[in-house]
């Protein structure tokens, strides 16, 4: 099977990838700027004999995902910020019950109803929990239409491998922009779920039940420790990031998703002006590339985090470098985009004041 090249919106690429990744069921509810995912799948999934359903709410969608995943099927939902907030209870249950599934958040700016324009204000919610209790999602942050597709395949595989929900945290710009996307042949690793999926109990095995309830504190703590051990394994094995021109960098940009795209241009402009700057783009937000950032803290003079929020990932960057180098923040909110030039100007001020001091 050869590669297929298409021109698509980020949201459509994600939907098409879901079909190619063998997603058995998609449940969603309309919300801007991601309704194309539901529309695309409502049109295409039945052609493949898959289940697609417009639910009555995001609360229902995520619980349908729970049911489908609990029966051993590849299941997915997508939404945007307010809808993802509604799903948090269900996501916590899914994490507690250790069900593999894929949740895509095409982030818009908030809080509240906010605006339909892109934002990255859901970093904390995605990476630090969002729902109740101690749990982690594997969080992937695509910065291109290509990655919107790639992360669907990767996301399903990681979800199955660790029996853990995976979130794709993109934003309204990456969801809506049109770019070239290449679909490579994909083989579903077909992880065996017959040891736990609820498909009807034959005589010769114990019953299966999906639950996040462990009423005895001893059992609950045991389950908590098991989850934490799993998150450690994930942190050990699944860190993903991209480095651009970091080899001799003295100022390091740290940015993900759309803001990384803008920073990439800023890096080029600053290099043309003779400044040694580079970019580290976390691709996985959990697990976070903290080890690599700690290494780079021994090389660069300072770091500058650029986000479409009031400064969220910057806290994790500061934790990673642990005071070794100054970490500054530059961001816009409310759906406003920083221009590469504004980032350049901000970086040049920092270079002048910090490098010389």
């Amino acid at each position: 099977m050869s590669n297929e090249i298409r021109l698509m919106k980020g949201n459509e690429a994600m939907a098409e990838a879901a079909i190619r990744a063998g997603c058995d069921a998609y449940f969603g509810y309309p919300i801007t700027p991601q309704s194309e995912v539901l529309e695309y799948l409502a049109r295409e999934m039945p052609k493949h004999g898959r289940v697609v359903l417009q639910a009555e709410s995001e609360v229902a969608s995520i619980n349908m995902v729970y049911g489908a995943a609990g029966a051993g099927f590849r299941a997915m939902t997508s939404s945007s910020s307010p809808g993802i907030s509604l799903m948090q209870e269900g996501i916590s249950y899914i994490a507690g019950a250790e069900l593999p599934c894929l949740i895509a958040n095409v982030n818009r700016a908030g809080p509240g109803l906010g605006t339909i324009q892109p934002g990255q204000g859901d970093y904390f919610q995605s990476v630090k929990g969002g729902g109740h209790g101690d749990y982690r999602l594997i969080v992937l942050a695509p910065s291109s239409v290509q990655e919107m597709a790639d992360h669907v395949f990767l996301g399903f595989d990681l979800a199955d491998k660790y029996r853990n929900p995976v979130m794709i945290l993109s934003d309204g710009a990456v969801g809506q922009m049109m770019e070239k996307v290449e679909f490579k042949p994909y083989t579903n690793p077909a992880v065996d779920k017959s040891g736990w999926a609820t498909v009807g109990k034959p005589k010769d095995r114990q019953r299966h039940y999906i639950t996040s309830l462990h009423i005895k504190p001893e059992k609950m703590e045991e389950h908590n420790l098991h989850l934490q051990e799993k998150y450690r394994r994930i942190a050990e094995a699944e860190v993903r990031f991209e480095e651009i021109k970091t080899a001799d960098a003295e100022l390091l940009f740290v940015a993900y998703g759309l803001s990384a795209r803008i920073c990439q241009k800023a890096v080029d402009l600053l290099r043309e002006a003779g400044h040694k700057v580079g970019l580290l783009r976390p691709i996985s937000l959990f697990p976070f590339p903290e080890k690599r950032l700690a290494q780079l803290a021994g090389q660069v003079k300072q770091m500058l985090c650029v986000e479409l929020n009031a400064g969220q990932m910057v806290e994790d960057v500061r934790l990673a470098v642990n005071g070794k180098v100054p970490v500054s923040f530059y961001g816009r909110m409310g759906g406003m985009m920083p221009t590469p030039e504004s980032i350049v100007a901000h970086a040049e001020t920092l270079i002048l004041t910090r490098h010389d001091s």
Binding site: E56, N63, Y66, G67, G90, A97, T198, V199, G200, R207
Partner: protein, 264 residues
């Protein structure tokens, strides 16, 4: 100690010698102590459902969905594959399970807080879509697990921990009649309300459950069996007093009988 052992051995021996087995609990009901309060009807309803599963020989084809509420541990007692749903979301969970495995028998088991308060949206939409599963709705007019707060089905004037002077209908409205409400939806195929506070009522409930399971084979829509139940602990009544309370107070508001039956 010695005396007790002798006594036990004696009765076991004599029981085997003297009696034939005339009744056994269903094979799919696990032989484990239940957490339900003495006199509570949940265990009885569990048993009836598992009797139906046994009689239809469908253990391998059944997937159940447990609620949040007193029946949250239903999967500890039923020897079938089950999922424990978030509070009120059983119908959403069951929708996915049934859509992905249309050949299976799927049911939800829900109480009045779960189904009629927090989960009424999921319930209405599932029935409106005509999802081809069975909803077993156990209505005891009170939040049992959280110990006695007002439910959407609490009777007018009925005491609860959150209506200490009785449910004031001018303040909280009338109890929701779930079966009548849901029967209006075109997706509902079979809707009935039954009770389990007499031997006769138990037999009728069993029949209703059997029919409701069987109707899934026809793929014609949602079946809802509402069962008027009790709560000795939170009603602060003995199980015997509960029987009269159901007859005198509950059944006038929640009358038993078929509300919607398949057209032949």
């Amino acid at each position: 100690m010695i005396l007790e052992e002798t006594y036990n051995t004696k009765t076991t021996d004599s029981a085997e010698e003297v009696y034939d087995t005339v009744y056994e609990p269903p094979c799919t009901l696990l032989d484990t102590p239940m957490h339900y309060c003495p006199g509570c009807y949940h265990s009885l309803v569990h048993k009836l459902m598992m009797e139906v599963v046994d009689e239809m020989q469908i253990q391998e084809q059944v997937v159940g969905v447990a609620p949040v509420g007193c029946a949250v541990f239903a999967y500890e007692y039923m020897d079938i594959d089950m999922q424990e749903a978030a509070h009120g979301r059983a119908c959403a969970v069951a929708t996915a399970v049934k859509r992905l495995m249309p050949e299976k028998y799927v049911f939800t088991y829900q109480g009045d807080g779960d189904l009629a308060a927090i989960g009424i949206a999921e319930t209405i939409h599932a029935i409106n879509r005509g999802e081809n599963f069975l909803i077993v709705f156990v209505n005891n007019a009170v939040y049992g697990m959280t110990s006695g707060q007002m439910a959407p089905t609490t009777l007018p004037g009925m005491l609860s921990t959150t209506t200490p002077t009785g449910r004031d209908t001018s303040f909280y409205g009338q109890p929701i009649k779930v079966a009548e409400l849901m029967a209006q939806l075109p997706g509902a195929y079979y809707v009935t309300r039954q009770a389990v506070n007499s031997a006769n009522a138990v037999r009728k409930t069993k029949k209703a459950l059997l029919k409701a399971f069987q109707y899934q084979q026809e793929n014609k829509g949602t079946c809802l069996v509402e069962i008027v139940s009790n709560c000795p602990s939170n009603w602060k009544m003995t199980p015997v007093e509960c029987i009269s309370f159901i007859n005198e107070q509950m059944l006038p508001v929640f009358p038993v009988g078929d509300i919607k039956v398949p057209k032949l």
